[in-house]
Amino acid sequence: MDLRDMLHISIGNLWRMKLRTFLTASGVVIAIAAFVAMLSFGAGMQENVAEQFNKLGLFNTMIVYEKRTESDNERRHRNQDDEENIEEDSTSVNDSLVVVDMIIKPLDNEALKLLSKIRGVSLAYPFESFAISVTIDDSTYETDAQALPLDAYKTKLYSELSYGEHLKSDSSKEILLTDQFIKDFNIEFPDSLIGRQLIISAKASSVDSGLYAIVKSDSFNIIDKVKELKFDSLLNKDYVSTVLKTEANDAIGRFVDGYMNRNEIVSDTLIIVGILDNGTGRRTSSKQILIPMSIAEKFNSKGAGRGMMDMFSMVSGGQIDLFNQGSESKSFSKITLNIEQGFLHKNIADSVKALGYRPFSYAQEFEEIQQIFLYFDMGLGLIGLIALITASLGIVNTMVMSIIERKREIGILKSLGADETYIKFLFLTESGMIGTIGASAGIVFGWLISRLGSFIVRSFMEKEGVDAIELFTMPIWLVLTAFAIGLTVALAAGYFPASKAAKVDPVEALRSD
């Protein structure tokens, strides 16, 4: 007797008990369908994220930030405090405020050069953005501008255009708008903008204007200040200290006023050459308009879009050259690295760290996301498995009933020469058939549920004006896993009854009704 004979016998036995087989298999169908539908959702979500990452080229993108580190002085100071605390009293509370002194290694042009030389980095470009006003015809829009080197437009992150073409050079008088810009400002016919002129303008703030305001201000007159001095008290230490503090505070106030309120406007006229497809905000970090590097440098050198925080940051970083605010002293909030295929992100991240910067890798981030998805899938799978275990009890019940009803048949088979292995295999085949039928139908039902879910979600997303995405997917691993689990659980459920059947006493079985 071969497997085909065994399957034939099993199918015959199950067919004779159609209703019972149907009901038992239904439990498996429901459990597998739930398992498949839920994991299909998990797999769909995962695939979507991976697709988005891949579409945007994030798997070969790394962002580099400045790294803030504790100064050696501060570290020494804190160590001393710790030692003193231990010596004094272990229960004493050191309530003195620790002011952490941070030093920042600037992300400047020097850093850009070093980062671009790391093996495996095909391109390094800074993230430069500032607030800007855009005037098209009579309409003015307040938005953000970003400058990118021409090579950056070759990366997936910035390569897709909805209309028009890319900037011709880093120094062309051209501009790219984005879908996000079109959407935010409700521009009806974006393609009609191609070839038209627009004016970009920004308020400029400079250290010059701040310094100028210290010495020349409506509220400050050096002659009046000299007159106010009490010369007979100049030898009094307290008096001198008070005067210096007051004047220093006044000077800072005048510097800030002068820095912020210079009100000089920097502007330029550019031609719209294209509209970047940034997928209604899907492009991470892309601002609403993109300008050539030369235009950005021009605006930057005049202090366009710079706020007080930028100024403080530059001062604390020691980057500011009060007498020359050219591009050499400029720092960036982050630098994007485009990584060549085949290079390990970890190695590049290590090189970035070695240079004193903080890397952020989307690929490494994706690994963490995958980990989260794994737990998510395990959670969903567990729910399906609980249903499957419940269904398996149905299989156990069916098989036990079958043994009781077919006890005489088992006796006959044994009298004809069937051994225990045969009897066990016969009943395992039957429970396996239930698992096979249940798992196969469950996969089909699970797929149908996922299609229905997908239809509902897509309809809802389209109704809400969001790009519809496929939230459910049925990879082959899911089909195979669901089938394997269905079959395994059915076989496990059938094992105990099959073993029981194999041990039936033939003499007693032949006597039974």
């Binding site: 005489r408 006959i412 004809l416």
Partner: protein, 236 residues
Amino acid sequence: MNKLWIETANLCRHYKRGTSTVKAVDGVDLQIYQSEYLAIVGSSGSGKSTILNMLAGLDTPSDGTVHVDGTNLFKMSRKEIASYRADKIGMVFQSFNLIPHHTALYNVEMALFFDDTPKDERIAKATAMLESLGLGERLDHKPSDLSGGEQQRVAVARALVKNPTVLFADEPTGNLDQENTNQIAKLLKDLNKKGITIVIVTHDLPFAKENADRIIRMDYGKIVEVIKNGGSNGSA
């Protein structure tokens, strides 16, 4: 004298029933020769069916041995005992023991499941066997569509289809009318003439006397009399 085929020594089958012990078979020494027609007779509960089950390897003795062709049956593994049942013996029961949801043909074919006979050959052999027993028109009939005599002939066909050395029959005519009893009796006699050893358990002494070469009468688990047909009597 033909070759000694089966031999039991001090064969016992004792059951525990609460605190007491039932001695279904108690110290039976028996020899069965090749091509012999042996009848075991006795009243209900005398232990005759229990002996048959132990000779077939379906039941395990409490004590004693059964040697088949010189091999101790109960020293064999369970798989070997199953092979012994599949290859060497055929069994016929009082209640026919056909599987009700299968056809006559399939019931007979099942006997060949366990000796690696290919399916086509199984069907051919089963068909030929049923036809030889006059059931050629009943191949696709289920047991419920057959008369008692026909069912028993299907059971005999199932026992014979694998060419057994020994046929064990437990009250094969117990559920049959006289006409069918005569048919089965003739069938068994013919088979024995062809060289098949037949061991039949019956409470019908006249039937045994009419057909068997040797009759063993049992009572309370022991052989109380051995009757050689057409010849001398002897006690166990």
